[in-house]
Symmetry: C2
Subunit: 379 residues, 2 copies
Amino acid sequence: MLMLPTFRADPRVRLVAAAAPREESRTAFEAEFGGTGHASVDDLAADPEVEAIYVATPHQMHADHVAAAARHGKHILVDKPLAVSLEDADAMVAAAETAGVHLIVGPSHSFDAPVALARRMIDSGEVGAVRMVQAFNYTDFLYRPRRPEELRTEEGGGVLFSQGVHQIDIVRLLCGGMANRITAMTGAWDPARPTEGAYAALMSFEGGAFATLTYSGYAHFDSDIWMDDVAELGGEKSPSSYGKARRALEGLDAEAEARLKTTRTYGAGSEPAKADHHEHFGPIIVSCDRADLRLTPDGVEVFGDFDRRFVEAPLGPVPRKTVIDALLAAVREDVAPAQTGRWGRASLEVCHAILRSAETGAAVDLTRQCGTIQEEEHA
Amino acid sequence: MLMLPTFRADPRVRLVAAAAPREESRTAFEAEFGGTGHASVDDLAADPEVEAIYVATPHQMHADHVAAAARHGKHILVDKPLAVSLEDADAMVAAAETAGVHLIVGPSHSFDAPVALARRMIDSGEVGAVRMVQAFNYTDFLYRPRRPEELRTEEGGGVLFSQGVHQIDIVRLLCGGMANRITAMTGAWDPARPTEGAYAALMSFEGGAFATLTYSGYAHFDSDIWMDDVAELGGEKSPSSYGKARRALEGLDAEAEARLKTTRTYGAGSEPAKADHHEHFGPIIVSCDRADLRLTPDGVEVFGDFDRRFVEAPLGPVPRKTVIDALLAAVREDVAPAQTGRWGRASLEVCHAILRSAETGAAVDLTRQCGTIQEEEHA
């Protein structure tokens, strides 16, 4: 549902085939796009009309579906997180590299235009070296309708794999990618939804930069009040919506909740609200030698030595256009974005390291990190 | 300068004596208050008119001055941090306990009325257990005029001892005091002012709560924009003041800078601006089981399960009245506040632990913590 408006609106994209287990979805797809609705991913991957495949299946299925696409020589855009287990991530990176196809992990909020703008400012040298990043996000994530496995950590449930990975992606992108150590605590505070709903982490990078990452999905404080009352997807947030997520779940059992979630699936009718701003993942402050950068839903506020100014990130014709830009550059020009399979594996490593550090009380050294420039990808 | 308006306005306080090395200050004191201006702290401590002494000397002198006061049986209010070294802190705690006098560390922002209000909400049980605290503050601290030793860490310079201790006090108060482990990174990014100007820390508490503490004194991002544009001392902040701290230092050598600082000393004329709000130490979010609390300069915003509401902390007749309340309760009723000598030593331990963790890259276990209820103080 998130990528569909992007695909529809971008003339560079033609949806020629899809795979879905639900016949309702396949029929809706063929009716709307005139392509082929396949019942299996393997059939989709074998379809000669297909040039690149977007894998938007549940996390734990990514590995099989990416393997199928790679086997048939298709380029791949896969939803974050790349996988749940690092073993799956290794296999996916190897499959794509062996097949010589591009594997891009997205969409993720590291593709948001204000993040890219901040990264360009840093690359230009105008603000000096990145020293410290503070990223936090307080959402209602844990009370959005869920399938039961989304509340089980071992199956990729909880806030780390679905939400933390966005924040990790952004922070790694701003700090150059090469994290080396992390210490973290997690919170699983609601016995009725017994998976991690919150975490706080302190992460350091090669070169000395460090970052704090904090997240709570318990639907209390809403950090969008410090993002100009703009919601994650870029739409205006109404103050009257407070408590909505919890209220919608009141009195529902697991089955009814899973049904409620299905109403958000393709073919069920509803569409995301119109966005007048960029997407975002909560307040982010980047402290550099000569300025701090505050990411906003409209661009970057630069707090310099003597002056404070705002640099707008122009709104594209459609949300998530930057993801298509990256896919096109990879497929047509063989230029990989930062967010490759290796990149996604590195962010996934951080998710696991947060869980492990919280469990052991000790710092975790990171060993599978990669930088923002992907020269090693095709080495 | 900070406590003077408080002393002046509170009818429970009579200033009967003072000690100061500068004759100008002693003369001004006697002219204004009609008491005795002593040239040494020992003479002040021996003055039979004196019931309690406020020690507001540079950090590294606190130990001697507290010892002198205790020796003469005077109760003591000492500026934060209690001391620079933990050995001094130990000696001060022992001196006060041996003499049977109260030793209170303040003022500190843990006395701010919104902090006390949040603590009362927590104690009432209405919001459930404290799970996570996020505290951050971005100020111009490093570019306020300094004496040279204030830029040397070993003499108590840098942001940890002067600024971090406020944040540590507040977070410990909200989490019950008994921190057990901390991991931190520090930043000393300006070679012209070579002391810690920033830090980020992850701290855990007995009972499982955890907190992130972030601070930057590099005068770039100003987190008061998320405190309703209210400055630390409770006054409205003008957007046109951006960059003021750095501009005031431009072209000054160390001597001229120290002179500039002296213009803020008692007897030099200027007074703090009027405050229409409570003092604060930056944004603080307290995540509890049934609500998150956001501390503001006017009270506490409560983000509950279904509703969001604001609870005002009524403004007293004068700033820092809560510090006098605590002093009076100790002197007249023998009731100690949370912020005793042992408390101050525990917060100082955290300052040192942050420095050590940043140096070694390892977590530091804390061993001198104390809780918010001071039953052990007079045991």
